[in-house]
Point group: C2
Amino acid sequence: VAHESLAAAVLAGDTRAAARACRVVDEAWPGHAELLAQLYSAARSAWLIGVTGSPGVGKSTLTSRLVEAMRNDGQRVGVVAVDPSSPFSGGALLGDRIRMQAHWADAEVFIRSVATRGAMGGLSRTTADVARVLGAWGASVVLIETVGVGQDELDVMRVAHGTLVVQAPGAGDDVQAAKAGLMECADVFAVNKADLPGAEALAQQLRAMLVLGHVTAGVARHGSSHAHGVQLLRASEADSGNPEWEVSVLSCVAARGEGINELLSELRRHYAWLTGTERGRARWGQRLREELVQRLYAGLSSALFERHAPEIERAAEEVANGAVDPYTASAALIERWT
Amino acid sequence: VAHESLAAAVLAGDTRAAARACRVVDEAWPGHAELLAQLYSAARSAWLIGVTGSPGVGKSTLTSRLVEAMRNDGQRVGVVAVDPSSPFSGGALLGDRIRMQAHWADAEVFIRSVATRGAMGGLSRTTADVARVLGAWGASVVLIETVGVGQDELDVMRVAHGTLVVQAPGAGDDVQAAKAGLMECADVFAVNKADLPGAEALAQQLRAMLVLGHVTAGVARHGSSHAHGVQLLRASEADSGNPEWEVSVLSCVAARGEGINELLSELRRHYAWLTGTERGRARWGQRLREELVQRLYAGLSSALFERHAPEIERAAEEVANGAVDPYTASAALIERWT
């Protein structure tokens, strides 16, 4: 299935075509990879900003304010809302959607939600694909909003050029874990609801954690190679001619629109670093490499599974009835196929 | 590397050997698959119970009570605590560990935490592996406790025979999404803190969602094949000679130990269904099949990536400098390799 005319219409800025392209991509219809290949170079110039944080910190309000600020600059804006809920719920972002309704009426703002996919990094792939459709449609900025809990959700942030992690005072003990998980994907921290008690203490605490992060990075034992890459980069930031990015902590009151421009300009400074310094470009190159590897994983697996379906069924049967353990069964098949 | 003597020591119930085996497995040392193959048949008889729910609902307290109840029955118990935090934090379960300290002193209780892995279902695989080590060590029950947010964390629950989803009154609007995600993995619901206002309303709401789930299951559009499998099974529950499992909602006050025995006996009833009915066995067979598929995915990908590393590096370079898009690059490599 070819989608040349669809690609042309998206590139011409047609909104209905973009909506259709999102669907083609989101549901992985035949020809979706070719469509994305055609949109890719136009989409490369879009600036992708991740916005994440625990439930209740005011992410959606802040996202909405960022959209507003960029619309005031006359830019076309895309929003990809990553929905952590299951098919069972039929989507749980209704509340957020209502909060964003001012933007739904704006023809220059394109909002699309993406549902959680089965497995295998599917969520990040789909998010990257949809963000590219919006970029090709003409969005100069695409905001990617996601709940900041869970590995999949953290991985989604790697799709963005820069990630804004939103925190707020008054969140309980139990979100400390989530905060820790968010530390490594933050390029800028926003302490929202800065008019509430505890906001300054939270900002201090985040700054302390950032300092601690520098110190302990070298001894972290567990984790993905992604995390280690970041840590190694951080460890070598002494080189001032080619600076490492310094994560900062800014305060804002999204509900009143306070501190939004400052956040935006810090995010712009990050983008300039990412695209304009050797270290920044190396970091981004690493992200693109990871994306390629993810696509290879997924594509390879489906190709091989399609070809060997009967063998897999037979082995699954044997595991289910206890004739063989899953370790021995999978090792035997991999041995035979490679 | 062979681990025969280690396997023998674990099977003899040696605790230090089990700790070492957990490490071999958790860090995927050479020979870990062979070790697991040796432990597998002994581990098959362990009953794996998942305990999940949003932060703050009292999961750890409830898990601790379940351990207590099973210890009173004289059973060896394993606990696998799935830690959602990143390497950056060095683990965030300290609070939970403190709450569980009574059990740490008990030689018949083995507690092991598992950190979030890079990607590709690594978390569920490691959890399954560690749970099997504990089963082979002699735990007749292994409790798997995880935060109920994020796809990875939901997938972990598929490792267990039965999953207890813990809810509590007073959690805000923002956890509705998490609740929705949890609906499809629940075998039993526990409304904890049942002495607080709103507990009865929450139980009612959960029961209503369960009824709604039956009705809407057929029209769910998005989602993994896993979810669809469950839904199809649910749709055919009219057959009373071979009953489908009916999810129930029970109340408890874990902090005071109230309602724990009732929960445990409902979980036992579920295990009897899973292992003793045709439908239950089909469901479990499907889970084992999914596990095999996951192991194949992971194993195949590493085998192929090892072999084709230089080609992948070259393609990654081209994607990073914009010479090719990731869609075309990955399609070309997959075409060449399969």
